[in-house]
Subunit: 413 residues, 2 copies
Amino acid sequence: MKQSQLFTKTQKFAPQDEVSKNAQLLIRAGFVHKEMAGAYEFLPLGWRVMNKIMNVIREEMNAIGSQELFMTSLQRKEVWEASGRWDDEVLDVWFKTCLKNGAEIGLATTHEEPLTALMKDYISSYKDLPFSAYQFQTKFRNEVRAKSGIMRGREFIMKDAYSFCASQEEHDVFYEKAKQAYINIFRRLGIGDQTFMTFASGGSFSKYSHEFQTICDAGEDIIYVSEEKNIAINKEVYTDEVLADLGVTKESLMEKKAAEVGNIFSLGTKFSDALDLTYDANDGTKQKVIMGSYGIGPARVMGVVTELLSDDKGLVWPDVIAPFTVHLLSLEQNEATQKIHDQLTDSGIDVLFDDREVRAGEKFADAELIGCPYRVVVSKKSLEKGGVEMQRRTEVQNEIISVETLIDTLLKG
Amino acid sequence: MKQSQLFTKTQKFAPQDEVSKNAQLLIRAGFVHKEMAGAYEFLPLGWRVMNKIMNVIREEMNAIGSQELFMTSLQRKEVWEASGRWDDEVLDVWFKTCLKNGAEIGLATTHEEPLTALMKDYISSYKDLPFSAYQFQTKFRNEVRAKSGIMRGREFIMKDAYSFCASQEEHDVFYEKAKQAYINIFRRLGIGDQTFMTFASGGSFSKYSHEFQTICDAGEDIIYVSEEKNIAINKEVYTDEVLADLGVTKESLMEKKAAEVGNIFSLGTKFSDALDLTYDANDGTKQKVIMGSYGIGPARVMGVVTELLSDDKGLVWPDVIAPFTVHLLSLEQNEATQKIHDQLTDSGIDVLFDDREVRAGEKFADAELIGCPYRVVVSKKSLEKGGVEMQRRTEVQNEIISVETLIDTLLKG
């Protein structure tokens, strides 16, 4: 795409009321816009990143056989009363409103209750189980404070998956698959090294739940990392008993600030009890369905990547989620650059083509702020030397290479 | 995908409170689920259709250079007060709620106001114009009654686009492009022949706006169609003056029931006046930005397609938006059918593979209800004759053909 046609512009300063580093940088680079605290618009560059993050998650969820659907934001009071979570004292982040006839409804904070109710229409026999379903759907949470930029929203897209099994054994098999899918997801998203599976409190139906926590100063959580065992422990279960259970000692653990990028949770029959979701077992008895839930916040991942990888010049995107792979800068060589642009896009490479009539310095500064993995400059000098000047966003040296070599390099990743 | 793993099942009956034909059929076939009147979940088959519809729209919007973004559902009172539309007397479909600090906020019914306000950060000069932006985003409208199934929701995804221009001439150029894009979209979605561009009331800044109305008994509108001129007139502007203006006579027009599937609207400076969206013109003066808005409801399109094309046996999907191109039925030949499934998917063809252990009659009935364009049956008999039995959903005759011929036929479309 031509940068002269992109409606966003980079900005020298972020809004004064924006305190988080991730939102400051993303606003300055034109990726997001702040509508109100905890509610951000995703502008064209930012929406491209979000879609790439969501596609990685989608591929891994499909790979474990999960089925994508799309639920409603408007929620009936009845299904939430059934589980005891309609009460604002129990769930304190509700946004509620009313239909014209006066009936109270809520905006989905999560979807366990309505999906459990929905499944009563589709689950009747053990033969219908196991399976899982997921969605990318907006959640609304009425947070008192929302100061972490796009890392904690009053409104945010969540990938939430739910599993439905006939037995604890079936559940455990899917739970392990989901764990592995999450490990793959965070590795592919470029934060695998900094992301630990943590042990967290488990609720009534399991000893532990698991979170995926990325070590990050902007995170709101404290975790205790065992590098040796490649696991970590959440603060709320950091007790002598748990340490012994996991076979780690206090001395071997490092305290770190971290951001929760995902969680997986065994729900047991909590919701199938509340909403009477049963199946006919092989032996003719009626049994409650065993459930699990599995969440990832794509915008939080985008925020964490921003917090972790950006430098003093701007954003730094991993190749797989960059808005464009190549930022192609024309230094008064728009005609030659257009041809190179076409060669790259014909090879299936995403290109942001800076064809604007502005100073070279402004183009360089914008390329650093926007943070595409490869900056490719086309100038009189580079053309005379037979090619283009390529520089990785994460490196300081650049080199003149032919367009063919550039394409080879990019296709190899 | 294997049908044995699809969590939805077809149902003999729709819920008793569901009065619309589209929702009755879509619920029975497992495409949607009713959460409450006017709010439906899209289940795996239905979500595939929605995504295919949205992708056609996305391709045509990208082709006219529009830029995709994603705005918020939560809306600040101030921007809507600026345009005078916060008042429930003016806009009577608001859902409103409150932040924890008591501040009133609304759920987006549409996005003119917040997008106009947002653009103040990005538009300063005539050089920034023209451009357009669009999104697929949930709208919330507190309708008193919602009895048209997925054709009129209290919550529904809308593709809404907005254009920003420096002059009426620039606006007119984009408006004509949008018209053509809409014509392409409805043709590609399989309802081009039944869809007419209608003249509708224009508001303060233009004589007419234009709607795209599909002739359909379940529609809520009345239009007057001129087949000769390939246009139509909405009831609210069906006057002698307008007829004369458009050069048509009452006698040449046919009154039809129709459903509005899209609309395009010249907004003039209505919103840039209200929210003070200006640009510096070439001559140094400050001018107001000229805007337009362009909507399509993908779920309404899905509903209209259901109403128009389905028959007494079930749904009938046009190839381009079918959940799967092929419904592959194994009659006790799962092993051979699996191989054929793999050949088809390796060729890039979407296949729903009915591998269930149920009666042949149930498979046939489900294939008709679900409505994929090609039903392909693999039986002992078909294999002996050297292939598979193929039947188009819209035809009664079937034929035995080789798998190679099947693939050729499907790839040619």
